[in-house]
Symmetry: C2
Subunit: 639 residues, 2 copies
């Protein structure tokens, strides 16, 4: 039975050193053998041995032109005044490009310079030896080194190998990596999930990574948290693969058996690395093979695999791991990070007003969308306590550098139509993207003020004038020239469970003791609207149960109601409808894009404005329901 295990806090470099030193001693790093594959299947593989040319290319002296093959000596003295005649079949032979030269010939005369007279040809100029001849070995001489060992094979490499007579190439065998998902609660994608089921998708990501890094991934079936079963499966995986990755069970909980099993089957080298996300990581060696216990949270799984599996596979293949390009960016927000841990912060990037800005994404190890949305990763080193807003950071890029300048940065209030807009913009102009961070309407205006965004979605009602957005923009952006473009008018109302079981009819019902409310965060337009209405009603918000529970998007509010943890929230019809909820309309509100004039006029934003003003987009938005597109694309305010 498993003994109790404890998590350590080994610095990343030290963990790497231990792992690599141990693998090197056991000669594991280059253990994958070689195999011969047909050239046509060798693209992207790595040569295991140098390739020395078996044949020359060309393997004979050939004509480089259509014309006649001759001996250069026979043409000496030819001129317009003294043409030279050569007898066909003896002194001259017709050749097309590529034809072999007769052994007596050493030059070719172009057809354009030849007169045929009976069985003779007449020429007006001499030809130098080897002129218009493609000589044997011009490209490759037999026995020459064509490709060194350790070469990642490009299309031209395949061509060169074939040109010199090879039909197969001896390449490094791809390291076979077993990916063993463990956990009694895991179910496969496509299962009709019930509460407590967790869709197992880490193995898909880990297998995709292994494939990208030149290995062969095998996703084994999910193993439940049953100690003897898991031990038997790991043992068998070790027999059949070069590397074993167990995911998860790598922590120190009551059902975390991986560390114990690694120790029993071989040597547990590291358990717990001082990185975030990714702390509960296991590194070991068993039966001469590396075995890794990768944490279960998806972001941790992906990042720890990057840090440890990636270099391992490249070492086994004998090629250096390609480096990702990096850029310098300005951090838009303060990020605190605990001392003692290397933190890998996912960021969105964009070029706003001449500088590259990095906006941190969600930091939770469970939020895989933080990696999907990320343009890059900034390392906050373990001897630092974080990064100040405005500080310079080095960002390792996850996308091609040129895409950063092709990103429209939207920070502000969330609306479903922004998702749709983002997708349409990319369709109209491949490579162009609309990156949208949701921090509420006021947060968006602050981002514009700080020069962190090209535009902000905003639906802020001014309580005094009853006017939308403009008074707030004036306060936030002062004398900056700004254009307000309407995106939609949308229904705001109360989102309730299907059939409205609590019979909620208006804001007064929020005060009922049997009604649990879920709120939006401060600064959100919807929150401003609620507070405005409550004030009109002279209602004390603290009397509303759940007033302090804040969600950051309309959909998160709807999800709370769908999940039964709240009975009502204020939001938009689209969100209610999306989750099959009911909706009690309260009023229509205006949702604008606030765009500083220099960005409004810039080339970057034009395709987005074209999409908004085209007929197709409005049609799609109307289809979502709860939207009025009558002013879509119109300039509704200017400063």
């Amino acid at each position: 039975m498993p003994r109790k295990v404890y998590l350590e806090d080994i610095p990343l470099d030290e963990a790497r050193r231990r792992f690599e030193a141990n693998l090197a001693v056991q000669n594991i790093l280059e253990q994958t053998g070689a195999e011969a594959v047909p050239i046509a299947e060798a693209l992207g593989r790595v040569t295991a041995t140098p390739i020395w040319a078996p044949l020359s290319s060309p393997h004979y002296h050939g004509s480089a032109m259509d014309g006649a093959a001759v001996r250069s000596e026979d043409t000496l003295g030819a001129s317009e005044a003294t043409p030279v005649r050569l007898r066909l079949g003896e002194q001259a032979t017709w050749v097309d490009t590529g034809d072999p030269l007769p052994s007596t010939a050493n030059a070719v005369i172009m057809i354009e310079h030849i007169q045929t007279i009976g069985d003779e040809i007449e020429i007006m100029a001499p030809v130098a030896p080897w002129q218009h001849v493609r000589s044997m070995g011009e490209d490759i001489v037999a026995t020459e080194l064509v490709l060194p060992a350790g070469r990642v094979l490009d299309p031209v490499d395949l061509g060169a190998a074939a040109a010199c007579g090879c039909t197969e190439i001896v390449v490094r065998r791809r390291p076979r990596v077993a990916i063993l998902p463990t956990g009694s609660e895991l179910v496969s994608p496509g299962t009709d999930v019930k509460p407590g089921d967790i869709i197992e998708f880490n193995s898909l990501m880990l297998a995709g990574q292994v494939t990208q890094w030149g290995g062969t991934a095998r996703r084994l079936p999910v193993t439940p948290d049953v100690y003897p079963v898991l031990k038997e499966r790991i043992s068998r995986a070790l027999d059949e693969h070069d590397v074993v990755v167990v995911n998860a069970g790598s922590s120190a909980g009551s059902e975390d058996f991986t560390a114990t099993i690694v120790g029993e089957l071989g040597e547990l080298l590291v358990h717990g690395v001082a990185i975030r996300p990714g702390h509960p990581l296991i590194l070991g060696v068993a039966r001469g093979k590396p075995i890794l216990g990768i944490p279960g949270y998806p972001v941790s799984a992906v990042l720890t695999s990057e840090l440890f599996v990636r270099p391992l596979l490249y070492r086994m293949l004998g090629v250096p791991a390609p480096r990702r390009p990096t850029i310098q960016a300005t951090m838009t927000r303060k990020v605190l990070s605990p001392m003692g841990e290397d933190e890998y912060l996912r960021v969105k990037l964009g070029k706003v007003g001449g500088r590259i800005v990095a906006t941190p994404l969600q930091r939770g190890a469970g939020v895989i969308m933080s990696l999907v949305r990320a343009d890059g990763i900034a390392l906050i080193p373990r001897l630092s306590e974080g990064v100040h807003a405005g500080a310079d950071v080095t960002v390792e890029l996850l996308r091609p550098p040129e895409t950063i300048e092709q990103t429209i940065v939207a920070i502000g209030s969330h609306d479903l139509t922004l998702d749709l807009l983002s997708s349409e913009v990319g369709k109209l102009r491949p490579g162009l993207s609309l990156s949208s961070s949701n921090v509420g309407s006021l947060g968006g205006l602050i981002a514009l003020q700080r020069g962190e965004a090209h535009l902000a979605g905003s639906h802020l009602l001014d309580e005094e004038s009853g006017e939308y957005n403009l008074p707030y923009v004036r306060r936030a952006l002062g004398d900056r020239s700004v254009v307000l473009v309407n995106l939609v008018h949308r229904d705001q109302g109360l989102i309730v469970a299907p059939g409205n079981p609590r019979g909620i009819a208006g804001l007064q019902d929020l005060l009922r003791s049997d009604v649990r409310f879920v709120n939006r965060q401060r600064g959100a337009g919807t929150r401003v609207l609620l507070d405005y209405q409550l004030k009109q009603m002279h209602t004390d918000p603290s009397r509303i149960e759940g007033y302090r529970r804040e969600e950051f998007t309309h959909l998160a509010v709807a999800a709370a109601i769908a999940g039964g943890t709240a009975d009502v929230g204020l939001g938009i019809l689209a969100a209610a409808r999306a989750l099959g909820l009911d909706f009690v309309p309260i009023l229509k509100e205006r949702y604008d894009l606030v765009i500083p004039r220099d960005f409004y006029e810039a080339e970057l934003l034009r395709p987005m404005l074209d999409v908004i003003r085209g007929p197709d987009f409005a049609r799609q938005v109307v289809a979502l329901g709860g939207y009025d597109t009558s002013q879509m694309g119109a300039v509704v305010g200017e400063l």
Copy 2:
């Protein structure tokens, strides 16, 4: 029957415009449809539609810790002085990480903070609502945009799609590209070639490129130059594919039918583009599909495919073609290039003494090794006449930028052991390479003088002192501090046909009228040696037939003899043996590596020196034959 066709000289931009405009009008650019594939097979594919989440992730409120699920309200007021007890099964429920929360609970207390007393738990502190709860939709909210259309799928994208309940992803179908090799002289790799046969390897390279660019390549059988057969095959290829690439027959010769057939089946848009290599290029459209005639020389085929097929496939897939990184480099030699043509010059790169130097490779369209050896491509624009030595050029990189600094640049005399050394260095230190350009011994010293190389292979005999290399180095490099490291002593002698049919015994036989000589280029150590010996013999070189025929490597000399175009040449045993030729030894010569001291002491060269001085390398060199390694690695001279 085919009508006569003529090659035009259309500038690249104009050719691109014509092709793209025509394809756009015919709506061809985005014609490949969509198909649903299982997530596990979607890596690297391109989303055809946006993915909106069918499910939330997590799809229920789950515990983020091992502990007890409770209602936050029940814990108010708990402290060490006033612990609170909660009844298990009513007010508290044991949960493990990932377990769903009972619908009554809204928080989790960590197991470490719980005392169990009978059927109650006791806690010393209150817990806030939603603490240690992983709430429904924390990662993905149902209906949210997970992935936009046009996304190239990464491992994390697959994970996100699976997390929200997808099992398949609708991706763009890969464009199907037919590659149709034509030419009666073409044979498949592996054929026992006879003179006039040309190994068909362009289709391997073109198919590799198409695969790298996201298409599906189908290599069709070789079609002979028979007009009706070719027309029928092209016609059928058009029916079954999205793009047809015909290779070659794209010029204007008597058997070049492609242009005519394109015109007959559809519209011939461009025939002849002002680029080098690659001029005889055909662009057309037939039956709503792009059809390209790609020239037959391998470098032309690869480059024109890059220029026209690559953007086409990326447009069809709806994603921007990734840009290659570029760097600025200093051109080491003057390169003349004709006005009116964009020339794509293949270059080798290295960082020598703080600057990146670019050395042009062979420019012939038939030399595929120029692309295999190339680190990058420099464009010489059509309105320029070339590049001066020392000029700054922009080089598009074919290798990762970091490999440039990991390149040891050797320019000088060629020896087979350099090929072997290059291969061994990469084995010892993956990523490190030895790039060797062969310009003869004197050329190497000049390259050192100009700061273009880290070392030069040299075997220059000083005619006065009888000393090797040092006098030449002193003359060429003046007061620069230099170290001479011996690589080998090697046999120089006369290379003759097997069995020595002319009975050649010594240099005096070169004067015989029945003996054809093949020489090395001026500056080559072997040439210096020959001229020295001839002078000693008071022999007029012009009396030697073939004295003016110059080859640039030992192997090229051997190939000339093996090919029967010469009877004898001066060279090394290894070259003779490699091609199965006979060898008449004349003398032993010293072959050194000339290394400026700052490079000799640099980190970059250390692994190479370690290889030379290791026991394994000498053993391999001896096995080649004709080498004496007794001084290998020894410092044989210093300045």
